[in-house]
Amino acid sequence: MASKSDNIDALVADAGDDLLVLLTEYIRTIAYKSGWPANYISNMKVSMTDDSTIYVDPNPDMQEDIDDLEYGNLNALPNAAIRPFILRAPDVIEQFIEEKILPKLLVELGVL
């Protein structure tokens, strides 16, 4: 039988995966609204390092083009998507923790 600690670890791990899916959808939505071409949008994703740092993780083959979209170049104005995502992501994460993680965690801990 799994211990309470195991259950909490599993809950947090599952929540981490769900959060990355949510954030990936979110950055793709912003990129779409910023007018990015579809092939670049679908190659944007949000990942997490082993020490739980969340980062924007585009397809490396497209890095240069994505930087041009984000910052503009001599021929095109900037269509920022990554920076707006970074500014807004904390609110999304906060809401996710509040609605999706905290209730389950409180149940698991026996508070609710």
């Binding site: 910052y71 503009g72 001599l74 104005l77 500014l87």
Partner: protein
């Protein structure tokens, strides 16, 4: 009269950035022009170095939003004060305005000189932007953050195989929009015209008398 939300910050930022100069063998006092967005190709070919300012995002600043009613005598600097008269209004809506400030030049020495000057104008989290109120009677000092710096040099393709030295700064300016500005953006309904022609009324409906 001064300028309202966003336009005031745009102009204040341009005022802050413009006035830079760089040196080289041909010109000891070469001005660095400042543009909103990109200048036309012909202009930018002739006028390196230059700086561009782009508003790239407007973010609701929920973390510093409060609510309530304020009272003053000049409606937050938008109306000339009249003795014995005061204004009452809701607390403004907090926003962060996010700008991209980009510098473009061909000469490495220009690049470093511009970089130095920009870093002095945007000193990390210690920057501030002086923004006049709409009456032009007072200024506010807005906290301004340098959120990011990226080197985006290029040597081929877009530059016609000439080197292009480019710096990109992401700058966040705190701001707020008064409810009055939001209200002014909505047109009031002044007339309601009722069509009293009684033809073409769908079955089941009756004309208004």
């Amino acid at each position: 009269m001064g300028n309202p939300f966003i336009i005031a910050e745009d102009l204040a930022l341009k005022t802050l950035v413009q006035g830079m100069t760089v040196k080289d063998d041909n010109n000891q006092n070469r001005p660095v022009k400042v543009w909103f967005g990109y200048p036309d190709v012909e202009i930018r070919t002739q006028d390196f170095p230059f700086v561009t300012i782009d508003l790239i995002d407007i973010v609701p600043a929920n973390d510093r939003q409060t609510s309530g009613i304020l009272v003053d005598t000049d409606n937050r600097g938008t109306q000339a004060p009249v003795a014995g008269y005061s204004y009452e209004y809701r607390i403004p809506v907090a926003y962060d305005l996010v700008y991209q400030v980009s510098s473009y030049c061909r000469h490495p020495r220009h690049d470093r000189a511009i970089m130095f000057q920009l870093m002095n104008k945007f000193p990390s989290k210690f920057g501030y932007l002086i923004v006049p109120n709409e009456l032009g009677t007072e200024n506010s000092s807005r906290t301004m953050f340098l959120d990011g710096f990226v080197k985006r040099d290029a040597v081929d393709g877009e530059t016609g195989n000439r080197r292009l030295l480019r710096n990109v700064l992401s700058v966040r300016v705190i701001s707020e929009m008064t409810p009055a500005q939001a209200d002014n953006a909505i047109k009031n309904v002044e007339y309601v015209h009722i069509n009293n022609t009684t033809s073409s009324i769908p079955s089941g409906y009756h004309p208004v008398h």
